[in-house]
């Protein structure tokens, strides 16, 4: 999802495109097209728009067979949408995979260094390619489906789990405008589609026809369904405060140029993040983080795959690539919950420093105008996008690191204790935060805690 990838792609695209880029600039193009595609609506289908622009401007050379047909089709209305969609999916998928590879490697390194070890060292520099080796190996392993397993369910369960996680990436922004699809009901979508993953895990455990898997399945079902409630309440609270289901809107209300209820513009700083919106939000953020650990089955809530109790949990019977899919899904879910936390509480792609945030946004801050002078408007815009991606990913990765840190430090809780934490601690706490936030908003007219009365329209 990095823009660098995108520009490389551009570089290979030929003379005509280069001219166009020089002529107008990719950011403008993308924005232009996405607006067109969206029917003039707000928010950017930046990626899809950019891709569409590419497809429309690129003509297949004459020597390619059927070039006229292809060029004709590309020019039509339907194909670019499909192509844009496919490429967007590909990029999300690619990000998830690359992230998972990196995360597995860093998890092994992080744990190793916490345990007076070195971790993978032999494959590539400092074992960087270790996960690639693991993945390829798993790909070429024998695929065993137990004789007494439910073969269909057994086969599709990993895909369902992975799809369940991947689908939740749809409304998730990676930076300003960098989003697969800015759904109006984004947060609702994230919460709702989460259930698909539970379904997949249940399918996997049930179909394996293994008692350990069955235990893990029941545990997963209990755990994930329970913990969706505090997570849902956290969502509701943020939605109440921000007045929008869209993740992009939620982020936009935490930084950049904020407009208050009188239409007056304000500079957005770190204390405008939802985390500091009111005292309840702080508690809620912690609640959400704990619940999200349980949601993605991480320690201390790793009961579904408790190695010392349930051998390998719901994927006990899975071999090779199917097992790798579970693995991928787990790490993708780790990023996902972290990224949602960043969106909800930590200001999304806003770095918290107003001048940095405004680079490439068209506002006339000293930093932005200086950069404009040095780099020119197009490069400044690209730089702005890159900084936002960087900020967003950094925040998310820090949360992922904390998840790892917790995992290698704490023991595992028991099933009843896990339920206790959910129903008797997290749920009341998040409910208190919900009501508290409501009252705070009512009482202060939406003033933020540290933000001195900025009211977002």
């Amino acid at each position: 999802m990095n823009l660098a990838v995108f520009t490389t792609f551009l570089g290979q695209a030929g003379q005509a495109i280069e001219e166009k880029v020089i002529e107008k600039g990719i950011v403008d193009f993308a924005a232009d097209y996405s607006t067109k595609w969206d029917g003039g609506g707000e928010g950017g289908l930046f990626l899809a728009g950019a891709v569409r622009w590419l497809v429309e401007t690129y003509t297949v050379p004459d020597w390619v067979p059927l070039s006229s047909v292809i060029n004709g089709t590309l020019g039509a209305e339907t194909f670019p949408e499909l192509g844009g969609l496919l490429i967007t999916i590909g990029m999300v998928f690619g990000f998830v995979n690359i992230f998972a590879i990196g995360a597995v490697w860093s998890e092994r390194k992080v744990s190793a260094h916490m345990q007076c070890r070195l971790g993978p060292m032999e494959v590539g520099p400092h074992g960087l390619l270790q996960t690639v080796a693991d993945g390829l190996k798993l790909l070429t392993k024998e695929d065993i489906i137990p004789r007494l397993a439910d073969k269909t369910l057994f086969a599709i369960a990993p895909a369902v789990v992975f799809a369940g996680v991947l689908m939740r990436f749809v409304p998730l922004p990676f930076g300003d405008q960098l989003i697969a699809s800015d759904l109006d009901l984004g947060l609702f979508f994230v919460a709702a589609v989460g259930a698909v993953e539970v379904l997949g895990v249940i399918m996997a455990g049930w179909a394996s026809n293994n008692k350990w898997s069955l235990f893990a399945t029941i545990r997963t079902a209990t755990q994930m369904v329970s913990y969706e409630i505090p997570i849902g309440i956290a969502f509701v609270t943020v939605i109440l405060c921000c007045g929008s289901f869209s993740l992009v809107d939620v982020v936009n209300m935490q930084g950049g140029t904020l407009t208050d209820i009188d239409g007056e513009a304000h500079n957005g700083w770190a204390w405008h993040w939802n985390l500091f919106r009111n005292p309840f939000m702080l508690i809620l953020a912690i609640t959400y983080f704990i619940a999200s650990l349980a949601e993605c089955k991480r320690a201390p809530f790793d009961l579904p795959e408790a190695e010392s109790e349930l051998v390998s949990g719901f994927h006990t019977e899975y071999t090779g690539m199917r097992f790798a899919l579970f693995f991928l899904a787990e790490y993708a879910a780790m990023y996902l919950v972290a990224a949602v936390a960043v969106v909800l509480f930590l200001g999304g792609w806003w770095s918290g420093i107003y001048w940095v945030d405004e680079i490439g946004m068209g506002t006339d801050t000293w930093l932005a105008s200086w950069l404009d002078g040095v780099l020119g408007p197009t490069l400044t815009a690209v730089l702005g996008v890159l900084i936002k991606v960087k900020v967003f990913l950094t925040k998310a990765f820090i949360l992922v690191f904390i998840q790892m840190w917790v995992r290698w430090t704490l023991p595992r809780v028991r099933l009843d204790q896990m339920m206790y934490v959910c129903w008797k601690v997290l749920l009341p706490a998040s409910l208190v935060c919900l009501i508290g936030s409501c009252l705070w908003e009512l009482a202060t007219g939406g003033a933020s805690f540290f933000g001195f009365g900025i009211v977002v329209k």
């Binding site: 744990s111 916490m114 345990q115 007076c116 070890r117 008692k211 350990w212 069955l214 235990f215 029941i218 545990r219 320690a299 201390p300 790793d302 009961l303 408790a306 190695e307 010392s308 109790e309 349930l310 051998v311 290698w408 430090t409 704490l410 023991p411 595992r412 809780v413 028991r414 099933l415 009843d416 204790q417």
Partner: protein, 378 residues
């Protein structure tokens, strides 16, 4: 829906012999109702290596290596138990220096064994890092033993009539350095990391409570018995070697975090015993006399007159006893080993039937009893 309409089924779950947390090839068949365990049935013998038959086929000296392989985590104590029983049978006097060396190596071995118990217990509860910390420090002890007798695990160091090699000053200073490194800094670190961790306490306190009378009836000994509040320690109650000259406390479970005799108590007794062991080692190093380290004659072979005896020593897991029957030849007529783990784990079935035990608790209980399957099955 009324309760009658919900069909529930009891499940028979087979845990082991290959399971990450049965500490070897122990097998428990549990009848469960959901996560609750209704009944359990232990099966052992997957590592029955015929120690007693082997002992009947080899001469007295050759049996020593077999005793190593019973409880491979504290081989020194097993060696000592066997050697002591033969010494009792033949009346061999062990040189003073050898007795001190025995105390040093046995207590170090006890620390190593308890370290492994600590590490794997953390692993059972779900904390992985303590395991690696424990191994980091265990390696230091193993290095000392390696210097001493060339082996890392099965030492055969304590032999009939003394010890195999003399303890050099260099090794003594190594041991002192280890003691200074280990106590109190490292044990405090462990306590911070695991012992007083909230989740750990909630997982182990009030779980698997063994009342004192039940423990004694089931022949539970060692730290598992002391966890139930019974201050029985053979080093103090039936002193052997030079233990009566050394000062040490016998830590017992007090129900600090829950009830007396729960998993946490058993675990904590081990942690506290490590401090006592280091204390014993320090005393022994201070007082160690010069002189011979073995009875040369006994090293060439022993031939006890006909008779039989039972000798017990305090191993890392409890009472290590050897019942030796001699018929006057140089080959034992019968050697019976009383393995502490064998008795300790026999209480498991009773524990699971006594109170509500969940699947995760079963793992915690097995871990807290700290069994070694080599010893259970022999």
């Amino acid at each position: 829906m009324t309760e009658a309409k919900i069909r529930t089924e009891e499940m028979l779950l087979n845990m082991g012999p290959q399971h990450p947390s049965t500490h070897g090839v122990f097998r428990v068949v549990v009848r469960t109702d959901g996560e609750l365990i209704l009944e359990s049935q232990s099966h052992i013998g997957y590592l029955h290596r015929c120690f007693e038959k082997c002992a009947e086929g080899n001469n007295y000296l050759q049996v020593v290596p077999y005793t190593d392989r019973m409880d491979y985590l504290c081989a020194m104590m097993n060696n000592w138990g066997y050697a002591a029983s033969i010494e009792k049978l033949t009346g061999i006097e062990v040189p003073e220096r050898a007795e001190y060396i025995r105390v040093i190596v046995a207590e170090l071995n006890r620390v190593a064994s308890h370290l492994l118990a600590f590490g794997t217990y953390g692993l059972d509860i779900g904390a992985i890092t303590p395991f690696l910390y424990a191994f980091r420090d265990r390696e230091r002890i193993l290095k000392i033993f390696e210097k001493l007798c060339g082996q890392r695990l099965n030492y055969s160091y304590v032999r009939i009539g003394g010890v195999t090699f003399d303890m050099t000053d260099e090794i003594l200073s190594d041991i002192e350095a280890f003691c200074d490194y280990f106590d109190p800094k490292i044990i405090d670190e462990y306590d911070n990391l695991l012992s007083y961790n909230g989740i750990f306490i909630s997982r182990t306190a009030n779980v698997g409570v063994i009342p004192a009378d039940l423990a004694i009836s089931y022949g539970v000994t060692g730290p598992s018995l002391r966890g139930s509040g019974v201050p029985r320690d053979l080093r103090r109650d039936a002193p052997y070697g030079i233990y009566d000259r050394l000062e040490f406390d016998v830590p017992v479970g007090s129900g600090e975090m829950g009830q007396v005799g729960d998993c946490w108590d058993r675990y904590m007794v081990r942690m506290r015993e490590m401090r006592q062991s280091i204390r014993l080692v320090r005393q022994a190093i201070k007082d160690i006399p010069d002189g011979p380290f073995c009875d040369k004659k006994a090293f060439r072979g022993v031939k006890p007159k006909a008779g039989e005896t039972y000798k017990k020593v305090e191993g890392a897991r409890g009472e290590v006893g050897f019942y030796v029957v001699s018929d006057g030849t140089n080959i034992p007529y019968r050697v019976k080993a009383r393995a502490p783990s064998f008795c300790n784990i026999s209480i498991l079935d009773k524990l699971t039937s006594m109170s509500d035990v969940m699947l995760a608790d079963l793992v915690a209980i097995i871990g807290s009893l700290d069994i070694v399957l080599g010893e259970v099955d022999r």
